[in-house]
């Protein structure tokens, strides 16, 4: 009868593995944000101008905004299935701190929806004629910034998971919150191309990432409790 309790670390891994497994089994859901990113980013040259110089000017902003929108689109299925099938209740009733379990879900979600976008961003950057010395900066800043989008978005999804039509509310809640990251990310690319040093921007983005890692899962967890209530 007496069995070994899992440590919080084991529960964290189990949750991470489970969510990655679900994502693997639902490849469509996984591909959608990625496709969305590609399509949105390629709409800008069509909508604004194919002129390489003008594109180079807006490329950083286009990439960041597309990444933000793709992350927002992907957010919706972070907790919805769990809410509908009751797994969320199991998550909340676990003896382990909810913080780590929510963090595991957020990490899994970012690995599936955020990381592919980051990885493909240099390709889009090339198509948008971003100066080649900015590729690395774009890549690194997106790598630091997109997890923040996921973590912040997670709060919004957790608050709205019980709602029937949540798409727009989620956007209205989440997008303004993402502005600081957007500012830091685009400024980093723009200012370093003007000769500023990168480290300050990385420090700011890193600080934002750390702050949201430490606070956002707590808020998401509280929001999930409210939604299940």
């Amino acid at each position: 009868m007496n069995k070994q309790r899992t440590s919080t670390g084991q529960a964290f891994w189990a949750t991470l593995q489970r969510d990655l497994l679900i994502a693997y089994k639902r490849k469509n859901d996984m591909a959608n944000p990625f496709m969305f990113f590609l399509i949105v980013a390629s709409l800008f040259p069509i909508g604004i101008s194919p002129d390489p110089e003008r594109l180079a000017e807006i490329a950083a902003g286009v990439l960041w905004i597309s990444a933000l929108l793709a992350s927002l689109l992907a957010m919706d299925n972070l907790y919805r299935a769990d809410y509908e099938d009751g797994s969320l209740e199991q998550l909340l009733l676990s003896p382990h701190p909810l913080y780590f379990l929510v963090l595991a879900k957020n990490i899994a979600h970012w690995l599936v929806s955020g990381l592919p976008v980051v990885l493909v961003s240099p390709l889009i950057a090339y198509m948008l004629n971003l100066p080649s010395e900015s590729y690395m900066i774009l890549f690194v800043t997106l790598l630091l910034g997109t997890p923040v989008f996921s973590l912040l978005g997670s709060i919004g999804v957790a608050l709205t998971v019980g709602l029937g039509s949540r798409g727009l509310i989620l956007a209205v809640i989440t997008l303004p919150m993402s502005v600081p990251v957007l500012i830091a990310g685009t400024l980093a690319i723009e200012q370093t191309s003007n000769g500023a040093s990168l480290s300050g921007f990385l420090a700011i983005l890193g600080a934002m990432l750390l702050a949201s890692i430490s606070v956002a899962p707590l808020a998401s967890g509280a929001a999930l409790r409210i939604s299940v209530n």
Partner: protein
């Protein structure tokens, strides 16, 4: 202290007390408004740069600075809602959001009207206006979340949480927008911040208008909260007795 706190949490107590205070508050508010507006419109000297548009400052500055107090207010009330489950605090969170949106919208409108002549355009992505705009969006998000959630208890807590998160976010947004703005417009001393009132003939009427708008903020918050109390407590004994009178 604790007794006072729990008493304050009682909607009935608040309704009765605020009923007694309201006439006085409204009277003081009108007094300050009349003095402040007359002074601002008639007596304040012309600004050497802006001419008579400096009269707009006496509306814009108090409204804009008070609109910055909504998120802290909602965050404090939201914390009380979450921790002590005080109903009155949730009512404040609920009524403060639309009121804050009105304040922010007026601050934006007066700011852009003021800017028409200084900037030559109705809208400019000025640091202050941009962060006010984002604050307006956040407030609208809270309002729409409230209306979307059917269960009142869940709505109360969800909005309380979002207010706290939003409050932290507003601060971060403010700093990052300022930073963004200074980097994009190096060396502009253009705009409202350069025209600080410098003598007492400028700032005393501003102070009076500031007090007037703060009183208005209090009065309108109390009025809205009182209605919310009546609606939520409509089944309770004391509301029934009140209605019978």
């Amino acid at each position: 202290m604790w007794l006072w706190f729990s008493k304050l949490g009682s909607p009935k107590w608040f309704y009765e007390l605020s009923g007694k205070w309201l006439p006085w508050l409204i009277a003081t508010m009108i007094l300050f408004l009349v003095i402040g507006a007359t002074w601002a419109l008639l007596y304040v000297p012309q600004d050497y740069q802006q001419g008579l548009t400096n009269r707009i400052m006496y509306v814009h500055v108090p409204v804009a600075s008070l609109s910055l107090s909504f998120f802290p207010l909602m965050a404090v009330a939201g914390t009380i809602t979450l921790v002590w489950k005080m109903k009155l605090a949730d009512m404040v969170v609920k009524v403060a959001a639309p009121l804050g949106a009105w304040f922010t919208a007026l601050a934006l409108a007066s700011g852009s009207i003021w800017g028409v002549d200084t900037w030559g355009t109705w809208w400019i992505w000025d640091g202050r206006l941009t962060s006010l705009l984002l604050q307006l969006f956040l407030l609208l998000g809270i309002i729409s979340l409230r209306s979307a959630l059917e269960d009142s208890d869940a709505a109360a807590r969800a909005c309380a949480l979002l207010s706290i998160v939003g409050c932290i976010n507003v601060v971060v947004i403010k700093y990052s927008v300022d930073w963004w703005n200074t980097l994009h417009q190096p060396g502009t001393t253009f705009g409202m911040s350069s025209d600080q009132p410098n003598g007492p003939e400028f700032w005393i009427p501003l102070l009076i208008m500031g007090i007037a708008v703060a009183l208005f903020f209090t009065v309108s918050l109390i009025l809205a909260t009182r209605n919310e109390i009546l609606e939520r407590e409509r089944r309770s004994q004391w509301v029934q007795e009140l209605v019978q009178e």
